[in-house]
Symmetry: none
Subunit: 202 residues, 4 copies
DNA sequence: ATCTAATCGAGACGGTACGTCGAGTCTTCCC
DNA sequence: GGGAAGACTCGACGTACCGTCTCGATTAGAT
């Protein structure tokens, strides 16, 4: 007879050796490290397994393919620690957020975002993960605050469009390397988005 | 209009069989076709060579690797689409350009840009090619026109920032798939960039 | 007769999937077949792998290059033919051995020896393999028997020289195609070597 | 009007530039040099052409394939400068010849012979050349002298067999590298062939 | 205290693409 | 028309990565 775990324990286990959680962690950590070092398609499964001191079989027992490993590695590693500020001033909120965002992008994790976006082009799983773990949470968080400005009439255009305008330039720079991402750049974008690029009629 | 080089030979050729320009075209065409049919990473060099009725050796004589072939193929396909309109009205110029740009991005060929940006994250060669072949020429073309508006005072912010604001959202959507790219979206971006997102004081 | 290793494990194996001995056999068999069908330089590794239902990677995991595969395939095929007769009569031993040797050389497999010797001229690896796998074992086997005749005084010259005299002519014919190799030729060589070519003084 | 070369001129010529005999020589010399340096199959046509400061087209205009070039190179270079001595003594004739032969084999040209034999296994043209320019002339020369000893009864076995016995061991050593070729070796072979390997009855 | 079953590291396997190299052909310009 | 230069097709080579597999060795719960 089988007992149902009282309370929370979701995973009822039969006999046999249980999954080695430490190995799982080592694999995910190795995956992240390699991604940061060599990029998406150069992070081979062999290399991940070797660095994790695990075997390829273990990798493929728990993930159906390379993309899934990387996807889960992203999910686990990524705490989207980019709370949207709420100072009461629209200008200040956006300005602060963009400075924080640009500071984040130039960290190692920021570069990882580039690898993630790249991976998303080749693999739908990664594309989904990108949206779920990063794009949507970020927009939801900022959307709440911006929504209030929109409701109050202080914001003249739809929240979605505002979000595109303020965030997209940083992705663009991150992915094309056209210009370096700096605090000054963040300010320039914030100002231009808020006031528009056309001269105001006097 | 095309200027004829006065005097100096346009391309002085040494001895030896000249490069077979037709083969070059066949290879690039085959590359584009395969890119559209099966995507970036499934377009193999063998398949390109076979479809082009060329040999792999010829491919590798002129391009150092698979990525270079695909990059150049992409550039050749896109070259005609660089024109920036010049109607005299800043609003209309930007609006038209963004409609054209968005129309292009949703074609199959447009989707290739995503693959190219992805490739650039792992391969510095592609990154360089992307900048030199695509980013810079596009910005130069639009920069000329926008520069005049800036000089006349009609444009209140630097040309570079304007370019980031108007183009980046489309890259963002292309790469994240968050929202579909449509003509309406192009208009919304154009309007918001021109007027700013903040309510105007009456 | 085979000795069983007392005590110690005959072949202590580390962890990991053991080598697939069947695949090894299939590869060597395929190599021999192709060698016989199309010759040394037309037997490609791709063809060997395909016929063996193996992958090229497996071939190259165990042999450093094409020549090594073919060399080992050759050795495996020839291993049974090394026996040197021992009838008690020097004349008969040599005569029988040369008839066997000549009979072998004119089979298709025998012709492979020519290819092997040719390969050895350009590839030190093949040269080494040829010596270690073929030349030396053959001479060792015949050397044991001839050594006894030498010790008993029946043989008037050094074993090494005798071996050169009896075997070399067959290599010579095999490689130059000057004369066909027949049983009669084998007998003629045997007689001449034993008695010498000079008329005996009465 | 065209003058006929007085005397010998065998080749009446059409219009156009005549064949560049110097280029022909350079190609053949380069072929021989490369053969000596790197062996038969590593002497590529590209390398030959480059060393000869000629073009591949010139090579292929005059020779149908790589083997033919090498064949002709052999023929041109090779003066079979191995006259068979005729001292009146069978023993001395053979002894001297084998010393000369062994001295020849350890020169660069001797090593070339190994390449030639190797090439003969892959190419019938080379095999024919080997016989025509080397094997047959050498045997013909020695056959004349040996024939007289055979007629006088001093030689107890057929000339062909004698030739095989005295020459073959040197080819064997040349091609297998089993033992070094020295004057002492030559003497040992000569003695054994003349007297036979069996103990003489008292 | 076994027995059973699932997991682990190690590493070989089939498959498939990559990028390189040699043979032999062809094309252009120069003499 | 010959010759140097050099591009071309064809096809084999040897390498690398993916995802699968098969070992012996562990490690639990079930008996």
């Amino acid at each position: 007879m089988k007992l149902v775990n009282s309370g929370a324990a979701p995973e009822l286990r039969g006999p046999g050796r249980p999954r080695d959680e430490e190995a799982r962690r080592r694999i995910l950590d190795a995956a992240i490290e390699l991604l940061e070092e060599v990029g998406f398609s150069s992070a081979t499964v062999d290399a991940i397994a070797e660095r994790a001191a695990a075997s390829k079989a273990t990798v493929y027992r728990w993930w159906p393919n390379k993309a899934s490993v990387l996807t889960e590695a992203f999910r686990e590693t990524w705490a989207p620690n980019l709370a949207f500020p709420e100072t009461g001033s629209l200008r200040q909120d956006i300005s602060e957020q963009l400075r924080n965002f640009s500071a984040f992008l130039i960290t190692r994790k920021g570069r990882l975002l580039a690898a993630l976006v790249a991976g998303a082009q080749q693999d739908e799983e990664i594309a989904t993960a990108l949206r779920e773990i990063w794009i949507v949470p970020l927009r939801t968080a900022s959307g709440k605050v911006l929504g209030r400005y929109r409701a109050s009439g202080e914001l003249a255009v739809d929240v979605d469009v505002v979000q595109d305008l303020i965030y997209a330039p940083f992705y663009y720079q991150l992915l094309t390397g056209y210009k370096p991402i700096t605090a000054a750049y963040a300010d320039a974008i914030a100002d231009a988005v808020l006031a528009g690029v056309m001269r105001r009629k006097p």
